[in-house]
Symmetry: none
Subunit: 123 residues, 4 copies
DNA sequence: GTGGTCTAGACCACG
DNA sequence: GTGGTCTAGACCACT
């Protein structure tokens, strides 16, 4: 379910955080569902438990999951709030990139093309 | 002309690279114009000459500038090519972000709003 | 009567202890009244009887309840003593927080506002 | 400047975070001033560098300090914002405790006494 | 068995 | 020399 790309320059714990967050925000991991334990996921991905621990701590800090000592880690209930917050962030990033593109001479048509849904008429 | 933000987590040499590249692509630094020498810019920014050297090396690798030994560093002639290449990169990033946003339930109207030019009717 | 919040980071036994103690000190559980049995409460809350056992042991240690072997657990008689002791603790905490606030530049007016009864003129 | 209390049940890294944050918010560590390096402070307190690293990471997350790779950690510029935020937190805590105290029968006089400045007429 | 903390030691990027 | 990441192994509190 989670994959580590060692060629990726980003730290492992960050890759884990992003993938779990993405799955949770998309609803692939429903609220209340239990995550694999720190040790179990560490074995599965063949990395150190401390690295998973760090990823889970960051996810809890972001409100994506909550930790119950002795029981496990679970997807948080208020995911929709996080989803809208994430959408705001993406919007800000797209806005900044669009401004950069315009400064380099991009036309509205180009911008439209970039955000157009890929394969929208795919069979 | 170039400013270093020490609070920024990004490395100093990267900040220099990005700012010079941005100025060149926008045309603020025309083709053939000479850049400040490594030592001069290092003194001006109060940072280590090695850091400037590294930034200039990266800029040369990207084709933004070229180094003429004993004479100095100059903005490359083929800036327009780099500009279109940079626009392609931005386009790819915006496309990826737009796909993410759609996966989280963003509407076309939202996407349109994000790329809309800010203050287009500003006085 | 007692509710467990699994999202709360605090251990379950501590949540049980705090809630029973609070009910007892407020008089909602009068002196001498019988508590649910360990097994019964464990079933009701769907948690391990060991956890309830630990909570009751802690409550007995604090003098909030007493255990009569073979008969059950009962609210202690000397609740008023515990209430004043608890008030002393709260007072110490408020005092420490007030000192912290003053060190950060809080005014007396702010402190007064914080301890002012909320909704004192509520209908 | 920083002291670890091993009898304190709280984790070491949290003690470091709280003490540095307190010093910064009170102005004892002015904005821009450099903190001891991770390794140096670890030696000074006779604890593992990783523990200090974790404390500094948390302080950076809170906006109290910023880290410049290869240069060191420095107190952030916008401390006043954090101070008011911290005061809001303290106010909320005092409010909650005051409500608890009232529920246990505390009088306004008692509350006033608790927030009264200690030793205000000390010679 | 589970999460949380800590130690010890190593490697890398940056300046 | 400095911060950032990772591994290995250990101990503790909680269920």
């Amino acid at each position: 379910m989670i994959r580590i790309d060692y060629r990726d320059g980003r730290p492992i714990y960050e890759q884990v955080v992003d993938q779990v967050e993405s799955l949770a925000l998309r609803g692939a991991l429903p609220s209340g569902s239990q995550l694999p334990s720190v040790r179990q996921l560490a074995v599965e991905l063949s990395i150190n438990p401390n690295t998973i621990q760090r990823a889970y701590a960051e996810l809890e800090r972001r409100g994506v999951i909550y930790a119950a000592k002795g029981r496990g880690n679970f997807i948080s209930d208020d995911i929709s709030v996080l989803r809208t917050r994430r959408l705001d962030e993406i919007g800000a990033q797209i806005g900044a990139l669009a401004a950069q593109a315009r400064a380099l001479g991009a036309t509205d048509a180009q911008l439209q093309g970039w955000i157009a849904q890929k394969g929208e008429d795919g069979t």
